[in-house]
C-alpha cells in the first residue's frame, strides 16, 4: 500500500507539461451548435416527425428521409448564411409541423419521391432560419458539426419512437404523436400569423 501511495505521489509530483492548444472556442462552438436545433420546439417537432414518418414508411424511406433532411437543411443554412432571403420562413416551419404531423397521423404512404420532396422543401425553411440565427464569433466548423449531429439525433429519436409500430397499440401511439406534432405546428402557425 505504501509503495502504491509513494508511486502515486511521485506521479503527481512529476509534473508533466499540459496539453494546451490555441483552438479557442471549439467546445463552445460545438455546444451552441448542438443545443441550437433542440432549443426551438417548432424545429424539434418537425425533425422528430421526419423520423416517425420514416419509421412508418419503412425501408428505404426509413433512412432516405433522415439523410435528405439534414443535407437539404444544411443547404438552407448555407442560403441563410450568405444572405439569400426566403419569405415566410416561420410560416414554412410551422406548416412543416402541421404537414409532417398529418402524414404521421394518417399513416400517409405517398410515392417515395414525393415524400422526399416534401421533407426537402420544409428542410430548406428550417435550415434558412438556423442559418440566419447563427451566432457571431462561434467556431464555424464545430458549430456546424454540433448542429448537424443534433438534427440527425432528433431524427434518430423519431425513428426509435417509431419502432413502437411493431405493436398494434404502438401504431396507435405513433399516430397519436403525429396528431400532437400537427397541433403543435398549428400553434406555431397561429403565433407566426398573429
Amino acid at each position: 500500500m505504501k509503495q502504491k501511495f509513494a508511486l502515486l505521489l511521485l506521479a503527481v509530483m512529476a509534473c508533466s507539461p499540459a496539453w494546451g492548444h490555441a483552438e479557442a472556442g471549439q467546445v463552445s462552438g460545438f455546444m451552441s451548435g448542438f443545443v441550437h436545433p433542440v432549443s426551438g420546439m417548432d424545429h424539434v417537432l418537425a425533425m422528430v416527425a421526419v423520423g416517425l414518418w420514416g419509421a412508418q414508411l419503412g425501408n428505404p424511406a426509413l433512412w432516405l428521409l433522415p439523410v435528405t433532411f439534414p443535407l437539404v437543411m444544411a443547404f438552407g443554412g448555407f442560403l441563410g448564411l450568405i444572405g439569400v432571403p426566403l419569405p415566410a420562413t416561420e410560416i414554412g416551419i410551422a406548416l412543416s409541423g402541421i404537414m409532417l404531423g398529418l402524414m404521421v397521423a394518417t399513416q400517409a404512404r405517398p410515392p417515395l419521391w414525393s415524400a422526399i420532396f416534401l421533407v426537402a422543401v420544409f428542410a430548406i425553411f428550417h435550415g434558412h432560419a438556423h442559418g440566419t440565427e447563427l451566432p457571431e464569433g462561434a467556431s464555424g466548423l464545430t458549430y456546424s458539426i454540433g448542429f448537424v449531429m443534433a438534427t440527425g439525433l432528433l431524427h434518430a429519436s423519431g425513428i426509435a419512437i417509431g419502432l413502437l409500430q411493431r405493436w398494434p397499440q404502438g401504431k396507435l401511439a405513433v399516430r397519436g404523436l403525429g396528431c400532437m406534432v400537427s397541433l403543435g405546428g398549428a400553434y406555431f402557425l397561429f403565433g407566426a400569423l398573429a
Partner: protein, 205 residues
C-alpha cells in the same frame, strides 16, 4: 467515353483548377508542450477542417472493400507527407483557397452518402488528389515554423493511425449488418451537411 475512364480525368481537372486558383490560407497551430512531433500530431487531430474530408475519404475507402481500404491506407499517408514536406520546404509562400477543404468535405460526404461503387483506379486518383491538397494545406500551415519537418512527421503519424483504423472499422461494421452500412451513408450526409454550412460561413466572411 465510359464512366470508369471519365472519373480520373474529372478529378484531375478539378485538382488543376483548384491548384491554379490561389487565395489566402488560414493557419492555426497547436502547442502541446511536448515538442514538435507531438505538436504535429495534435495539429492534425485538432484541425477538423482538414481531418473531416480525410475521414470521409477513409470511410469511402472502407466501404469499397478490403483492396480499396488497403490502398487508402498505403497511398494516402506517403503522398500526404510528400505534399506537406514539399510545400513547407520549397513553396513557403504558397497558399490555397480557404474553401478547398470545405469543397472536399462536401464532395466526399456526398460520395459516402451515395454509396456508389467507383472503379479502383478512380478511387486511387481521388486518394492522390485529396492527399495532395490536404498535405499542401498542412504544409502551408506549418511552413516557416521551427521544427516544421518534425511537426509534419507527427501529423503523418496521426494520419497513418486514422488511415489504418477507419477503413478497417468501416469494413468490419458494414459487413456485419446492412443497417450499419446505411449508418455510414447517414454519417456521410452529416459530413456533407457540415461542409455546406462551413461554405456558407466562409462566404459570409
Amino acid at each position: 467515353m465510359p464512366m470508369h475512364r471519365t472519373w480520373p480525368i474529372l478529378i484531375a481537372a478539378l485538382g488543376l483548377a483548384l491548384g491554379l486558383f490561389p487565395l489566402s490560407a488560414f493557419a492555426h497551430l497547436v502547442s502541446t508542450g511536448l515538442g514538435p512531433v507531438y505538436d504535429g500530431f495534435g495539429h492534425f487531430l485538432l484541425s477538423l477542417e482538414d481531418l473531416l474530408p480525410l475521414l470521409a475519404l477513409m470511410i469511402l475507402g472502407g466501404m469499397h472493400g478490403e483492396v480499396a481500404g488497403r490502398r487508402a491506407m498505403l497511398v494516402l499517408p506517403p503522398v500526404w507527407l510528400l505534399a506537406a514536406l514539399v510545400t513547407a520546404l520549397a513553396f513557403q509562400a504558397a497558399s490555397l483557397p480557404v474553401f478547398v477543404s470545405t469543397l472536399l468535405t462536401i464532395g466526399l460526404g456526398i460520395l459516402v452518402s451515395l454509396d456508389r461503387r467507383m472503379p479502383l483506379a478512380g478511387l486511387t486518383v481521388l486518394i492522390l488528389f485529396v492527399a495532395t491538397l490536404s498535405g499542401q494545406s498542412t504544409g502551408i500551415a506549418l511552413a516557416g515554423q521551427a521544427g516544421s519537418v518534425l511537426m509534419i512527421l507527427g501529423s503523418t503519424a496521426a494520419l497513418f493511425v486514422v488511415a489504418t483504423l477507419v477503413p478497417a472499422l468501416v469494413l468490419k461494421i458494414s459487413s456485419r449488418a446492412p443497417w450499419l452500412r446505411i449508418a455510414m451513408r447517414v454519417f456521410g450526409s452529416w459530413i456533407a451537411g457540415v461542409g455546406l454550412l462551413m461554405l456558407g460561413w466562409q462566404l459570409r466572411g
